[in-house]
């Protein structure tokens, strides 16, 4: 599991049908950086995660904004309001690190395998179409990441 060939036919067809609808982005951006041991890493998830006290994600294009997840978040405060029901949530319910590996990242920092963990992490809700709807918020987020001296972003889907 879970190569497309292993999925139920309806699910496989749904995912394949999206391929021709995806945009062709101009250019191939590529940014180099220091060795991993010197990088400051943030997680950007599309699991629709947020604090229980946050506003839930809206559906449709209105849901293309993001929520801020402080680096010292207590996992007990994290919930999801993702619009899709077509991915497993039982894993996240048991251990949020299976989708948002903040504890693992902190362990790598303490072992000096990465430089440091960002002060803030972020979550979008990944059921927005077209995916170009994320552009405005994503470009603005880049500025905030730079202010936090982040030079590596781990993008984690569901």
């Amino acid at each position: 599991m879970v190569r497309l060939a292993d999925l139920p036919e309806s699910e496989r067809q749904h995912l394949l049908a999206r391929v021709p609808t995806l945009p062709a982005f101009p250019g191939r951006p590529w940014v180099s950086g220091p060795a991993l041991a010197n990088r400051r890493v943030a997680i950007v998830s599309t699991a629709g995660l947020h604090l229980r006290s946050d506003r839930p994600f809206a559906s449709g294009a209105a849901g293309s904004d993001y929520r801020v997840i402080p680096g010292d978040v207590d996992a007990a405060d994290l919930v999801t309001s993702h619009a899709s029901v077509n991915f497993d949530r039982s894993g996240m319910q048991a251990d949020v690190n299976v989708a948002f590996p903040l504890d693992r990242l902190k362990e790598l920092a303490s072992e000096q395998q990465i430089g440091s963990v960002a002060a803030f992490h972020y979550s979008f809700m990944g059921a927005v179409s077209p995916i170009t709807a994320y552009e405005r918020e994503a470009r603005a987020l880049a500025g905030l990441l730079k202010q936090d001296a982040v030079d590596a972003v781990l993008l984690s889907p569901v």
């Binding site: 497309l4 309806s10 781990l154």
Partner: protein, 250 residues
């Protein structure tokens, strides 16, 4: 996910992404991606397995040190299992006060399930120290009442100011499902994601009520219910399982 990588990298932030659907990642060609052979919803493979998660994370982060791209690498190690954990050890048996078993309406059986599962959800909370429920602010019995009232003659008012009827119903269904899944996961036995899905959709009254809610949404003229009618309530895999089950009974 790849779109976010493109936009962030365009603004000068190095990115690496986990890819769950290789075909989508190939089409979008983000700067760096690690394709993993795990189920949707589990980009780091295995809940509760820090060592496995760490291997995936390091394999992804190490792609940041490559000199050129775009690139997609494969993580070839399959997740060793799909279970979400067995019953906790050392916890007292839950005290429960289930309603009498009923062969009555789906609403009656749904009420009995919620009552019974509340004890197991309490165990889950003690065992895990956390829950992903609590977004609606409704206790399980109030959540039950809110959902079944949708099948009555007039829809209930949203439980939170500023929510459309559709937003409120969507959050309530997701929360009730999370309550069921979290409770089921700590019952005796080993439970994979697929087994819990089959249990919910094929063997619970809640699943029956959810299907009735989808039908209600399909019949409704309220445009805020459109998403629930078309796909944000019943998973495609559940529809496939229900169809297969119906064919098996025929």
């Amino acid at each position: 996910m790849s779109a976010l990588g493109y936009y962030l990298e365009s603004e000068g932030i190095p990115t690496v992404q986990i890819s769950l659907v290789r075909e989508h990642t190939e089409a979008l060609a983000p700067p760096r991606a690690l394709w993993v052979p795990f189920m949707l919803g589990r980009p780091f493979g295995v809940p509760g397995d820090a060592g496995f998660q760490r291997r995936v994370l390091l394999a992804a982060l190490q792609l940041l040190e490559r000199e050129a791209g775009p690139l997609i690498e494969d993580f070839i190690e399959d997740a060793p299992h799909e279970e979400v954990g067995g019953p906790p050890e050392g916890l007292a048996c839950p005290v429960s006060f289930p309603r009498p078993a009923s062969d009555g309406t789906a609403e009656d059986r749904f009420a009995a399930e919620v009552s019974q599962l509340t004890a197991w959800h309490d165990v889950a909370l003690r065992y895990r120290g956390r829950t992903m429920t609590g977004l609606t602010g409704l206790a399980p019995d109030a959540l039950f009442r809110y959902l079944v009232d949708w099948l009555g003659s007039s829809p209930p008012a949203p439980f939170r100011d500023g929510f459309t009827p559709g937003q409120a119903l969507k959050l309530a269904t997701d929360e009730m499902k999370a309550f069921y899944y979290e409770a089921k996961a700590v019952q005796p036995g080993s439970h994979s994601a697929g087994e819990i899905n089959d249990w919910f959709w094929l063997h619970t009254a809640a699943g029956e009520v959810f299907l009735a809610l989808r039908e209600m949404a399909r019949q409704s003229t309220d445009v805020t219910l459109k998403g629930l009618a078309t796909g944000s309530l019943v998973p495609r895999a559940a529809d496939a399982a229900l169809d297969a089950s119906a064919r098996g009974r025929a």
